[in-house]
Amino acid sequence: MALYIVKRLIGMVVVVFLVLTIAFVIVRLAPGDPAALMLGPDATPEDAAELRARLGLDRPIVTQYLTFIAHAVQGDLGQSIFFRQPVTQVLASRAEPTIFLSLFSLAIALIIATPIGIYAAYRRGSFLDQGAITVAMLAASIPSFWTGLMFQRYLATDLGWFPASGYGGPDAGFLARMGYLVLPSIVLGIVNSALILRFTRASMLDILDEDYIRTARSKGMRESRVVLRHALKNAAIPIITVVGLTYALLVSGAVVTERVFNIPGMGNLVVSAVLRRDYPVIQGTLIVVASLYVLINLVTDLLYLAVDKRVRY
C-alpha cells in the first residue's frame, strides 16, 4: 500500500506540473502582445513596455517558463495587475465564501440525493424510481444561474425568506455571512444532487442483487438493516468517487452562482479578472483550483482504503 501511495504522489506531482504548464501556455496563447491586451486600448507603448518588463514578458520564452515554474512551486503565482497584490493573497481573501458555498452545496446535494437514490434503487421500476431519475436528469439540464435567478426572485425578493444577494458587508459576523450562502447553496446543491443521485441508485442496484443481501434477508434480518447496514456500506465506494468528481461541478457552479448572488468569492473574482484582463489572477485561479482537484482525487482514492478493507493496491 505504501508503494501505491508513493506512485500516486509521483503521479500527482506530474499532473500538477502539467497543470502549471497548461496555465502558462494559456496566457501565451493570446494573439499579439499580452501586456498591451492587459492594459487595454488606452495604454501607451511605454506602459506596455513597462508591464512587459515587470511581468518578465520581454525575456525568452524558456526563461519565462522556468521562472514561472520555479516561482509557482514556491507558492508565488505572480502579482495581480488590478489589485497590485500577490495573486495568492488576492485568492486567499476571496476563498472563504467559495469554500463554504462548495461545502454547504455538497452537504445539501448529499442530503437530497443519497436517501432518494437508495429508495429509488430499492423500489426499482416504481413510479418513484422513474420520477427520481426524470427529476435528476431535469436538475442536470437546467442552467444553475437560471435556477439561481428564479429562486432569488421568488424566494428571496418576493417572500423574503433569504437574503437576496451579497455577503453581508465588511462588518458582518461569521454567522451573518453564512446566512447569505444558504440560498446559493440550495441552488448549487440541487444541481449537483443529480449526479450523486444517479450514482447512488446505480451502485445500490448492483449491491442489492448480490448474494450476501439475499443471505441477509433469508436469515430474517430486518429490511431496513439489510439496506442501510449491508447494502449502503458496500455502495459507499462509488458514492465517494462521485463526491470527488462533483468538486469540478461545484467549482463550475460556484463561478456562476457567485455571480448571480453577488458573492465576493473566487468565482466572482475570476470573472471580474477576465473583464479587467488581469491574466495573473486568471492563471492563479486555474492553478489553485486544478491542483486542489488533483489533491481531492488522491484523497478520494485513499479513502477507498479506509471504507472498504477489500480494496488493496
Binding site: I22, P143, S144, W146, M150, V256, I282
Partner: protein, 286 residues
Amino acid sequence: MASTTAIAEEPGFFTLLISRRAVLVALSVFVVIVALCVLAPLIAPADPARMSVRARLTPPGTDFLLGADAFGRDVFARLLHAGRVSLTIGLGVAALASAIGITIGLAAGFFRRLDAPLSRLVDAMMAFPDILLAIALVSILGGSIVNVVLALSIVYAPRIARIVRASTLVIRELPYVEAAVALGSSTFTIMTTHVLRNILSPIIVQATFIFAYAMLAEAGLSFLGVGIDPSTPSWGIMINEGRQYIDQAAFLILFPGIAISVSVLALQLIGDGLRDALDPRLAKDL
C-alpha cells in the same frame, strides 16, 4: 414465391432507439426545436434586432407571442434566432471535441510511447473545471462564436480522448487487428478502418452528451458576459440581458431558460437512448 419464415429478425438500430418512450419523445422534441430554429425566418419573420420604444417590456400576448424585451425587440424571433447560435455552438463543439479527442485517444491507445505523456496531459486538462477553463481560454482568444467553439472543444476533448484510448487499448489486441498488421495494412488504415470504426458507438454517445454540456457551458459563459459578442443573441445572452428586468418582466428569462433546459434534457435522453441502442452493455440500469 416468397417463403414465410418464423425466425424473428433482430430489431434495427432505430427501432431499438425509439423503443423507450422517453427517448422517442426527446427525439421528437429535439427535432421540433431544431426545425423551429432552422426555419426561424419563416416562422418568426420579425427582425430579431428591430427595436421599438413603445413595445418595451410588452408581456406575451397577441402583439408579441412571447413578449418584447427592454428594447422592444420580439422575444419569440430572438428566441428562435438565438437557438440557431446555441445549437450551432453545441454541434460545433461536439464535432471538434470529437475530432481532437479521437486523434489524442487513438495516438495514446495505439502508440505505447505516447500513451503515458498523452494520458497525463488528458488528466491535467480534466483537472480544470470546464467553465473555468473555458472562461480563461475565451478571455485569451476573444469572444467570437469560432473562439467559443474552439475553447469549449479544448475543454471537452479530453473526455472523448479518455474513452477512445480505453477502447483502442482493447481493440488493438484483437486478432483481426493482428491479421491486418500481418497483411501489411498501413498504421493509418488500421487506426481508421479497423480501430476507429469499431469504437464509434461510445464516441457517438459521448458526443451527444458533449453537445448538451456545450450548450449549457455557452449559456453560462454568455450569462457571465465572457462568451460571444452580445450583439449576437444566444439563449445565455437573452437571460443575462433579461435579469435586470426580472422584477417587471420575468418572462424575459423564463423562455430562454426553458429553451436551454428542454434542449439539454432532450439531448441527455437521446444520449441515454443511443447508449442503450448502440451498446446494451453500457446501459447500466439507468
